[in-house]
Amino acid sequence: MMQESNIPEFLPGTLYMLILRTLARGPLHGYAISRRIKEHSEEALEIEEGSLYPALNRMLVKGWLTAEWGISENNRKARFYKLTAEGRRQLGRESRQFDRLIRAIQLVMRSA
């Protein structure tokens, strides 16, 4: 499980894309973001807390997200992250770029 969790390190920048994608359906708090990513990847991707919160804060600085305090489903005060219009554009840019990269890698792999 721990070996899988360093995906952002061998594909730099994909952490932002994954977070943006997860938030595209609606605001979530940090814990739910890492939970969703883990579930949707069938447990293959696990974001370490140590890199999730710094990444969320970098995204706040860039203006891709806004944060607001609210009440969570377990009735606790939680910080919910929401995609901004700029964040949505960034998601488009990053997923296009990522698709191109994957396609290019696949082309090379199949040619061999």
Partner: protein, 214 residues
């Protein structure tokens, strides 16, 4: 535009650091408690669940450092911590601080004075109206000229006009019961019209006036 907004957000952070740190604490607390809730549902007692959730989260030191770094403007932060360090060092060593402040003050003061004097003597414009039309002449060597000679020179129309002055003189000035010794310069009535020196206080002598002080 995005870049500007980003700088704005970073500056806002700079003024609200304690608030941001508290929010991060609350967020970490929420994360751990929510994970503990989850563990509790699998049958682990609350206390153990909390301990385990905390262990899973791991050390928050590096995470906090990186979160702060996301907001910081590096050079401002470095500058602030350098200043804090310098202030602490100076407070611990007041003698050194006093010596440093004194020598800086002296150095800056001396430089400012030298600069002002240099500007005044070498680069400032003369404070008369048309310096290029003025000439200083002396009649009869070093001694003072007679008023009669001055009148003659004026009527000869060699110069557009001639004003007379007596450079170094002293006079008594009586004010109420007190008498003051003043440095004065007796001049002819047309002196101010010709030289055009601005009058700092009071008014200039008008042509035709006699025995007027200004």
């Amino acid at each position: 535009m995005n870049r500007l907004k980003e700088i704005g957000r970073r500056l806002f952070y700079l003024g609200h650091q304690p608030h941001f740190n508290r929010e991060l604490d609350d967020e970490v607390q929420f994360h751990i408690e929510t994970r503990a809730d989850e563990l509790e549902r699998t049958g682990i007692p609350r206390r153990e669940a909390l301990v385990q959730a905390g262990r899973e989260f791991g050390s928050t030191v590096r995470m906090r450092e990186q979160t702060r770094a996301a907001w910081q403007i590096k050079w401002i932060d470095d500058l602030l911590s350098d200043l804090r360090y310098a202030l602490r060092a100076l407070r611990r060593n007041p003698g050194f601080a006093a010596a440093a402040i004194f020598s800086l003050a002296l150095g800056i003061g001396a430089n400012t004075t030298m600069f002002s004097l240099t500007m005044e003597f070498l680069f400032s414009r003369p404070s008369c109206r048309n310096p290029e039309t003025l000439r200083s002449i002396q009649i009869g060597g070093n001694s003072a000229a007679e008023v009669r000679d001055w009148r003659f020179l004026r009527s000869a129309h060699i110069f557009a006009d001639v004003a007379g002055s007596f450079e170094e003189a002293e006079s008594n000035w009586r004010k109420g019961e007190d008498t003051y010794r003043l440095s004065v310069m007796p001049v002819t009535d047309n002196f101010f019209n010709i030289v055009g020196v601005p009058v700092a206080f009071g008014r200039a002598i008008q042509p035709g006036e006699q025995y007027t002080a200004c």
